[in-house]
Amino acid sequence: MVADFNLNSEVKNDCVVISTSGYVNNLGGQKIIDEFNEHHQKGLNNYILNLADSKVVNSIGISFLIEVIEKLNESDGKLVFTNLDPSVDKTFTIMGLFHYAEKADNVDDGIKLLGNK
């Protein structure tokens, strides 16, 4: 079953890779945006959100992700979602997230995608 929400982040090739596990809800979404803000304030503009271990996302969690996308749009930054569960992928598609963010199969592909931008 779904674990408690947790995240870690690392910077790879000027990309911030945020990897999460557990339910992306109000709590999880807040932690993601806090982590994002911390890096964004330092001027980092390329982000990968690795959701390999987050197969359950609710609309409150999505509203935080939209906030991240909006902030990156303002700063000409980019966001790539990776390792999406098919149901999460479909949800993000319907919610329109991929109009302003990209997706990749895995973190390495995501980094390559950001490198080509």
């Binding site: 079953m1 996302v57 609309s59 479909k90 329109g96």
Partner: protein, 538 residues
């Protein structure tokens, strides 16, 4: 008196500023956040009116405190006390104060902007043109704010509509996905995950009960304490009952960006829809499992039937001076009854009637073992009592404790009519004498495979004279049931044997079967019907 000359001059000056107003409105309405609106408005005012100190404040409701939107001078906040919110719009000039202009604007959503303005750069007073320009910019702020509010509403509406599509789509997808899952736990986990996510619940619990006792549970997230979680007043719950099991799904603490909110009717409908899907999936799985089991059983019976067909003789041998006929009608596709008649190398004839406990492949395999070993031993001319001991050992060793075989074996010397008989727990065979008296052959011993204690089997010798007959049968005939749960009975069978002395053995077999059928009528056959009938003609 109207000073037309002065008024015309103001209109002329304002017309020169039209493009500035238009540009200003575009800047304000393009602002993405309230703070950005505030900052842009302050810059526009400073540039257009050549002001030194412009500060903008905001509050959501009349009774709240002013919040700084954009205030280059921190001290300006102290002067918000002069901002009046009693009217929809106010604009006042206070020459004797540090800040000269105070204006408030009530917006469409009942929030307020408060404007505190210092002196002009050239320290001159505010003229009529300044006042009108200021009023126009405040109107532009009002319009830009309305546009900003509309955009937020539109964004929220699109988000909400998209979320409804997600809910609907997920409901359909979940219904399909759970039918593909192999085990119940995965099925229930998926349903709980989807129900929690789509209702924005922060937690979920699924309990499985049997006889009102919880026998299993799932929770999301993993770490929650179920007992504590279920105490939450903010929850919705639904229950599905199926074949003695109850599935209770509880969703807890609906989330919003601003904290907990109550679950609504849509959430309840969604939860019930998921519960119905779980019910349908569990039911389908059970039916599928039963269908598979039936299929396996059918295949097993088919295998058993082919074994049975091979060991029950298609045609009985012709014995000079005798007539013989037999029948086996299994109650299902295959039963545990067996009969045989063979002419041995020494010219004698073996007559065998047996009944194995149970049906299907295990029973037919056991009959097959009996048939093979019996014929091998018979050809070795072993005395029947020794043969019975050997068969008992073999059946005991090759069957489970609940499997045994009742068996009647008779070796006929056709020339003399002498019968060497052993009966291992089987129904007594019936010998109909010439004087129409019936003699039961009960030569004793326990069924084969029941015990392996070296118990002896007693043989018996009888003679069948000319015109006499023997009926060997299994309990499927006397125990055949009618619709009133009454048995055909030994008595009716014995009377039939006495009354119906047909010259034709096959005719006797047909008639006994017909008599059983006329007794049971439409009641399904509960056991195999097997019989072997021997008449001595010469």
């Amino acid at each position: 008196m109207i000073d037309f000359e002065k008024d015309n001059a103001i209109v002329e000056r304002l017309s020169l500023q039209v493009s500035s107003f238009q540009e200003g409105f575009k800047i304000l309405s393009d602002s993405k956040t309230l703070e950005e609106i505030g900052e842009n408005f302050v810059h526009l005012l400073r540039g257009n009116l050549l002001l030194t100190d412009v500060n903008l404040f905001y509050k959501k409701k009349e009774d709240e405190n002013w919040q700084t939107l954009f205030a280059p001078n921190i001290k300006s906040k102290e002067f918000t006390e002069y901002l009046k919110t009693s009217e929809a719009f106010s604009l006042s000039y206070e020459d004797d104060k540090l800040y000269k202009v105070y204006s408030t604007l009530r917006c469409v959503d009942e929030s307020y902007f408060g404007l505190v303005i210092g002196s002009k750069i050239d320290r001159s007073g505010f003229n009529s043109l300044d006042v009108i320009t200021l009023q126009i910019f405040i109107r532009l702020l009002d319009n830009a704010y309305q546009s900003y509010i509309s955009k937020i509403k539109e964004k929220n509406l699109i988000f909400s509509l998209n979320h409804k599509v997600v809910q609907l789509n997920s409901l359909v997808d979940t219904g399909i996905e759970i039918t593909k899952l192999e085990n119940y736990t995965q099925l229930l986990e998926l349903a709980l995950e989807r129900a929690v996510a789509l209702t924005n619940a922060s937690k979920g619990v699924l309990r499985i009960l049997k006889n009102d006792k919880v026998i299993g549970s799932l929770r999301l997230p993993n770490s929650i304490n179920i007992a504590e979680a279920l105490e939450s007043p903010d929850k919705i719950e639904t229950r599905v009952d199926y074949r003695g099991y109850s599935y209770i799904v509880t969703l807890l603490d609906k989330e919003s960006r601003k904290g907990k909110v109550p679950f609504d009717t849509t959430d309840e409908i969604l939860l019930m829809a998921f519960a119905r899907q779980v019910h349908g999936a569990v039911e389908n799985k059970q039916l599928h499992k039963e269908a598979l089991e039936n299929e396996i059983l059918k295949k097993e019976l088919s295998v058993a039937s082919s074994i049975q067909k091979k060991i029950i003789p298609e045609k009985l041998p012709s014995i000079e001076g005798y007539e013989i006929a037999g029948i086996n009608i299994p109650s299902k596709e295959v039963g545990g009854d067996y009969y045989d008649c063979r002419i041995l190398e020494n010219g004698k004839v073996s007559l065998v009637m047996a009944d194995v406990t149970g049906k299907g492949v295990p029973a037919s395999l056991l009959v097959s073992s009996l048939s093979a070993s019996l014929h091998a031993y018979l050809e070795m001319n072993i005395p029947l009592d020794e043969l019975a001991v050997k068969l008992n050992k073999l059946i005991y060793a090759s069957s489970t404790s609940d499997k045994f075989i009742t068996c009647f074996i008779s070796i006929l010397d056709p020339s003399t009519g002498e019968l060497d008989i052993i009966n291992a727990g089987h129904n007594p065979s019936l010998l109909l004498k010439k004087d129409k008296t019936l003699s039961k052959i009960e030569a004793g011993g326990v069924a084969f495979g029941m015990f392996d204690m070296g118990l002896p089997f007693a043989t018996e010798k009888r003679t069948i004279d000319k015109g006499e007959r023997i009926l060997m049968y299994t309990d499927g005939i006397p125990e055949a049931m009618n619709e009133n749960d009454e048995e055909y009975s030994d008595e009716r069978l014995e009377n039939f044997c006495i009354d119906k002395c047909f010259h034709d053995a096959a005719k006797f077999i047909d008639e006994i079967v017909a008599d059983v059928r006329s007794f049971t009528k439409d009641t399904p056959q509960s056991d195999d019907i097997t019989a072997l009938y021997l008449i001595r003609n010469k």
